[in-house]
Symmetry: C2
Subunit: 286 residues, 2 copies
Amino acid sequence: MTAKRSYNITALQRGLELLKLFASVEGGLSAKKVGLLSGLPVSTVHRFLANLESSQFLKSDSEGVFHLGLSCITLGQAAHAQMDIRRISFPFLQELNQRTRETVHLTMRQGLTAVYVEKLDSPEPLRIHSRIGSSVPLHCTAVGKVLLAHLLEPELEKILRQLELRRFTENTVGSIQELQTQLVRVRRDGFACDLEEHEPHIRCVAAPIWNHAGQVNASLSVTGPLVRMPTTRIRQIAPLIREIGIRISHELGYGKAERPLPKRGDSISARSKIPTESKSRRAVTS
Amino acid sequence: MTAKRSYNITALQRGLELLKLFASVEGGLSAKKVGLLSGLPVSTVHRFLANLESSQFLKSDSEGVFHLGLSCITLGQAAHAQMDIRRISFPFLQELNQRTRETVHLTMRQGLTAVYVEKLDSPEPLRIHSRIGSSVPLHCTAVGKVLLAHLLEPELEKILRQLELRRFTENTVGSIQELQTQLVRVRRDGFACDLEEHEPHIRCVAAPIWNHAGQVNASLSVTGPLVRMPTTRIRQIAPLIREIGIRISHELGYGKAERPLPKRGDSISARSKIPTESKSRRAVTS
DNA sequence: TTGCCGTTTTCATAGAGTGAAATTACGTTT
DNA sequence: AAACGTAATTTCACTCTATGAAAACGGCAA
């Protein structure tokens, strides 16, 4: 169903799938378990494990249990270091961190989740636990809603169809309808909130970051415990975070080129350059 | 080629190779450049890039330049978090860091290089620059020499044959002969030094970490600027770092079961020279 | 010993991946 | 505008690769 040709290289896809499998479990896996979890025949699994090990993406201990290997660390490090949105955002995140004294996150979408790409802890003793590289759902986090809200229409539809709105707290959004209403508001206001929708006692505010092509691939957020985040404070933080989002966007080249920059919400129709999007760029009202 | 059967899954190997290629350059690559650097035909490259992108290991920007993607970050993070030698070593590294007030590293071998797996900065204003995930040569670093010194004979031979002894400074070891002499000394003394052999003005001391099977897969080191690392200080640090290496080793199960695992003498001899564990298990010094 | 269970290897075969070449897209020059 | 050049993308017939059922192996326990 992927619009594209059957460009698939099964062997490669399987290998990468296995790596992701290993990333998702604690404490490694035996060949047997890999077979079970992946649904592949043991012999095939065995061959893959041998291959992944020879390139150091996996490492087997003396009990025959495989773990992620050093190449993964090297690769992750390189990816992290190269990600220039991160490098560029960093000083701004620091500023936001100092001015709010709360945990700040830089996030990007990966499929149906949002991944923390950078993080700065609150200086306060009461802190939020999170980790760079870990991922959170889109429908009940501030960063997630920002990312959703600025997707192009066709993409958004596809994603919404796939999302399962797991309820984490009693505040978690319950229906696509409701979510879409929120997204309209997010686009209009230029920021999104998470009011204990993902974790109890945790509230967040997030704003979009536009890249040079006018797309929103990243968002930044301020996260704090309920006690420090009453509505009044959120109202103070919102404009700040939105502004910093815009400043990062400019740094990334947003609005550099000859065309005007749409101030809020809607991502700019990435002119004829990007072929895939045909007509719709209008806001997703309803 | 590996001694093993031709278990090779070319498609997978190529894909992983490409990922490593991307990890080794700054600022992404176009399909063309990938073709050039990898020696693969463009059409093949294209197919691979499409596959890697669909699984988020790569990401292409609007200019058609590919970069490492979010999956790499997720994977790297997972690998880092799972690596239990790192988790176990951490408190010991902290202790070493506090007691020496210098940068400490935890390192593992990856092929012909040593990879930083964990790092703690010196509290002093004059610091060493390094990054988790990056790699350094084996022949001219303290950590590298430790890892080499405790390889099993056949493996060591293979590696030595492959090493090219690039000279980084005028102190860099110039011949395999000389290197082997050093390795003997490293095995005998239980630590290795790097006296400005890799970077000018930088000196290191490193000691081995044994795993439960009695193998040395990791080493830890103290690194400092020449001005703070006169020979007398190195002589002070050496026993300390060696002892901490041994304590980590015990934590990893080294010497638990009587598992002799016969090996060409070398690392056995190392075992016999382990000084009796000092009384203070968690000593914190002023 | 025998049986069990997981790992490792084998091997005939299907079909997946290949890459030269054609096509398309885009930017630059004439 | 047209012609050119470069790079991205797609095609397609062929080959060799990856596949996975099955068998062999190895360790462990009863």
